[in-house]
Symmetry: C5
Subunit: 358 residues, 5 copies
């Protein structure tokens, strides 16, 4: 449940800064380079880093995408090639880190959180770290697979603003795509909420509360990712990093709007969950009330009647009523009348469901 | 329920920025141009854009009102004619967008949310996007119909400040009218609240809670529209956009006051809803209490009496009381006394409704 | 209930700014002018405005007090005479407006809310608008009657600082008097709270909740008036309006202290109301608990006894106990012992009121 | 309860500023002067103010301590002697005033709130107003008696930093001593809380709730005194008042730390009270649950048994079981079996206290 | 419970500032000096301070670690040797003090709170005060033992950045290690929470509430330590203390990230505890509901049956049914039918566990 913000795989207390914590189950490293200028785009799967260093060309925009951290020496080689600061590298590898935008000398490190719903409708959180340099964008992802294929397609097509701008636009396009991927997830949560709404009113079982709590935890988790993301994008819009042009800032302002909107939807959902929990609790109280009413109606009608029957079951020698001819039917009548009075009282109180079912 | 802030019709993840998302059910495009200087006002329904471009005259104030987005090429033509930035166009068309005021170069984009109560007493939210240029105001509305007819009337009359000021005053008049349209809605919500107040105390049925929750959702929705609107107007008052004169800023300050007031009323209503929900829950607890009291009174009176009757229904050979002459009436007396003592006890506790109905 | 912050008499949507909304039941206009310098004070009831314009003398401090807005043309004449901005006039007449301090050119508009407890112990809210000019103070009140007589008396006396300072001191004196008039009201609310405190614990009837809710609404209302008032006074203290001297700012700082104190008392009262509502609810739970305990004690004692009696009321042929000589008294003993054991159990649980009445 | 922040003895509405409100029960005025330089300290009880004015010596640090406001003319004489501003005097005398630090020309007025636990363990709040001039410190206290004796002792001793610094250090020493006097009080509240903690769980009587509410009110009261005190000290640390040297600011920073700590402890206590109230309410719910369980166990066991007994008490002619030889003991067996099944059911549910007492 | 933020061992009210409050049970003083430059590291246990003063060498980085405050004269000697300000010394010795970073002239005092889980799984809080001078770092710890051994090891190894930087890096390394020591603790609390989650749903005993409250208190305690720690580190990152180089600020920024993360996890845990308390309370309500349902089912089935049996136990002379041949079995049938109808009713309501167990 806590996975997205608090990994149990934290560095050993007192470890030297810059120590990389790579788990046993880390995905193997896959490196892919795309470089483009206008309509000309080239894609290479990078196997050894020498070829990368050769292929690198400052006259094009280069995107190097690293997926999986399973091979520490290779990660370190890339870091060396692009002169990444050791702390920057630590932030990239020791996931999860809070989303942020931070300058390290000439480079801008942007950490965002990517969400993907997998086939079993579970949400996967994954950190994407993006390093923006003068001529290149590096991205680092913990696992294979991402939501960035539309950007790759737009690069290959070579039309639209992506082909005319530099690496800052590429960074924008990547971040924007990751932010927009929150929308389908929020949509799904909205569907879940609607389903739970009916259950909370009509079927207030403990399971509903459990699902509501789980949903709230998820939303808290999402919120914890979205808020700092918003701050990071805002810092990029308002900051003064040299590599981001005025025009791209305009585009980033648009991404910021999307961040704000996702934040608001998340907050709204959280409010709705709280509301549903209250509805659930009040349905529960209503149920207890219903149970009590049934008991009260049955008991208050029959207890006095049983008393009457009990009286005439006594064995006193001298009970004149017992010997009256029509006594037995009269007692029946008296009992029926008593029951009627009671039912009338309950009906007037609205407990019989006729007047308001309150 | 979420429609006002979160459309399910969001752009495809990773779509190129500037992509317009126009739904199947979009209203057809209707364009109407009003231009005026002093008492002279001219109105034209624009069918083809060439005529618009010809009719356009920089010496007058021109208001071009676009309703319905059903014809993408036409929308794009207008955008081209007035050189709207692609992102600006995206904000206008991909509704709903958060209210905001933002400069795009020479133009000021103001997005506000218009509310209208339709005939079935449902609230309709609609985005109005307003582009303020040097000589013109463009407005874009998603659907046909709006609350702006009083402004049109004032233009036609040609008296009052609207005739003497430029497009900035026109923009103010439009925004002010949209903000003021929240008042009748708030009034209606106030009426609903008063009706619910009685129900929560006297008839705490689950339906009341349901209506209270729905009302709270609506108010949350309203609030989410009003707050950023307030920020947008505030930005116009305090900002330094070249096209807004000092005098119009004074008028906008007045609109800001109205925004603040609607915010406060909304907040007040939300507080009242929370309070009513608490009242509802406590009424419910009161009801359970009442039910319990009825059960307790009846049961505690008759259970001991039944016990007495049961005792003298036993079949022991040697029960001297049974043969005493006045035993039977004495038992009745004893039972009546017991019942009296019980009733006295309940009366002293105030459970019989005499002393406080607590 | 909402009157103080939200009038249903709002301007028509889309009305031209500056439109005055004067209700049918508006009080007739009464204008009174006081002018003074040192010990010399003069008071005139102004009937026609020409005499006012003649009597006006820049070498004295002039206070023109307008009560009632029932005569629009006359209000407009005054506005013209003192060159009030149309928006300023709208703020004054279209009550209620949020308290604020705002410059309109050379004039400072201060809107405050005056409270008065009338004879039936109801609170009346009334807007007082104050326009501070170079040589004069204008006040506009919706209704006749106010709390400002002590200031009038001090002017007539002609001693103390009021006689030595200009219109800024007069404005201060008026605002200070209006702010201080909140104290008696708060005192009264304090008395109400103390009375409700006992009721919430000892007599938790639904009526108590109703009164608590009403009190909370009143406090919310008060708070909504006091908070912006505090901001307005603060703006006067810290602002740079030319007509307010350094010395008067010192006095206003004192008024600000009073505003802060009333705010705090209001907040404290709100906290106390919330607390009392919780106390009420817990008293209610306690009551249910008490009811249940009575039922449980009576039922658990007599139900087993009735069972015993029932057993010996059976008609089996072969029930040897029935024929034993001392069986009947022994059964009585057994039943008494059972009852004793039960009572002991309840006493040990503290349910009999002996050990803690929990 | 409200005494500490809201006196009913407020000035008459509209009174001239500077009016002193001195109650009937005001303590008589006692003035004591201490002056010292290094190891030389002199103490005089001031009877008439001429002697004070003579004894005043600018080459020493002079502390004039005024206790009790019962003699207005005398208070006014002192004010005149030290040229106190009328508003400053009003703040001093019209207690209680919010703690604050404010410059009046050359003088700095600091208002703090002193707490003392008296012999009956009641907390007494008292306002101490301190005026820091170039060569002197004036203190004004509403009542006789204070917590400042340790400072007096340090002055008499004539060692330590107090002897080497000027009046600013004296002011610091006084404020610091008053702030530190909150610690024993907080300690005592801590003890009360611990005692209430056990009661809330084990003995949830209405009295516990009452004591918790009283404690919360006290803490709110304390908090309302401590928060502005913190602001006042902070203003002295960061402000630029000429009479406070850099070194004394360092000491005041330490006092500020103590203020922050007392604030935090108060907040923590408030949180704990809220928590205890919740614990109390849940204990109450638990009790109701327990009561219900006893009723349910007894009733569900004996009601079916009574039914069986009732069946064989019927008087039908033709009931073959009645004549069976072992019927009576067999019915006992059946009833015992039924009871066993029921008890087993309750035991499995954990209602018998064996499995979890839930 | 309060130990970590509020010691009962506060200085006597009015004590001279700089007074050291050393408890009876203070640990004896142990001083250890490490000095290093590059790969050369030297460690000395300091017995007398003269040797310390001799061994001190400005060309190396010196770390003097003082554990235990049991010997006041010795502490004062060290303070004199390093010219510590008396207030700085008071902050160090009079534990606990809020975490902070504060300049005293040339020296920077940083107070942090170290947590250690001891063998019995109890959390120990201990204040670590760190004084950063030009050539040295002093640390003061209340008790023996700490979490800083990894730093000592890195100094001894003499590789990595610690060997190449000055005392500012050493200070960073110490603070970073102390901050990172919160992770294992948070992990453990996470485990506790998971265990409590099940209990709150399945076994809502009062003990669960007690443990939840205790956990919340602990988290509040932690939070009160972590928040100011974060401010302190932030002040070091953004402040302008001369002894901290730009590069070390970069490292501290990383520590700040960790502080932020621990804050967030703590907040998240607090939210989860609140949620679990609500779950607990709703489970309780569910239980009461269950108890009531059992009672209602049993009572409403058997009370009417008992009534029927009671009727035919009456002794009227004239009850024809009694003499009908098949009357007895028919009564049984009627009673079985009644019971069936009731069971059907409960089954339809879902109270029998079949349809939803609501």
């Amino acid at each position: 449940m806590l996975g997205a913000i608090f990994s149990k795989r934290h560095p050993k207390v007192g470890a030297r800064p810059g120590t990389l914590e790579i788990g046993e189950s880390a995905h193997p490293v896959r490196i892919r380079m795309m470089s483009y200028r206008g309509r000309k785009a080239r894609e290479v799967d990078v196997d050894n880093l020498e070829s990368l260093s050769e292929a690198f060309d400052e006259s094009t925009v280069t995107w190097i995408d690293v997926q999986g951290f399973g091979d520490e020496p290779r990660i370190r080689e890339i870091a060396e090639l692009f002169q990444l600061h050791p702390l920057l590298l630590e932030d990239i590898v020791n996931v999860p880190h809070r989303p942020k935008a931070e300058s390290y000398g000439d480079q801008l490190l942007v950490i965002v959180r990517m969400v993907r719903t997998n086939t079993e409708h579970l949400v996967e959180h994954e950190q994407v770290s993006l390093v923006l340099g003068k001529h290149y964008v590096l991205t680092f992802q913990e696992k294979h697979g991402d939501v960035l294929d539309p950007v790759r397609a737009r690069i290959r097509e070579g039309v639209g603003p992506i082909a005319q701008h530099g690496p800052d636009y590429l960074a924008y396009a990547l971040i924007d795509t990751i932010v927009d991927a929150y929308y389908p997830l929020l949509e799904q949560i909205g569907d879940w909420l609607e389903a739970l709404e009916d259950d909370a009113v009509l079927r207030p079982t403990p399971d509903v509360l459990h699902r509501l709590n789980r949903l709230r935890n998820r939303l808290s988790n999402l919120r914890r990712g979205i808020w700092p993301q918003r701050d990071a994008v805002s810092a990029m819009v308002r900051g003064d990093h040299a590599h981001i042009s005025e025009e791209v800032r305009l585009y980033l302002r648009d991404t910021l709007d999307h961040c704000v909107q996702t934040t608001e939807v998340t907050e709204m959902y959280r409010e709705m969950v709280t509301e549903l929990i209250n509805t659930y609790l009040s349905s529960l109280a209503n149920r207890t009330n219903d149970v009590m009413k049934v008991l009260t109606i049955v008991a208050t009608i029959f207890i006095p009647l049983s008393f009457i029957a009990g009286v005439y079951g006594m064995n006193f020698d001298n009970m004149p009523e017992l010997h009256v001819r029509w006594a037995y039917p009269l007692v029946w009548l008296a009992m029926a009348a008593t029951a009627m009075v009671m039912l009338g009282f309950f009906w007037r109180k609205g407990w019989l469901g006729g007047k308001g079912e309150s």
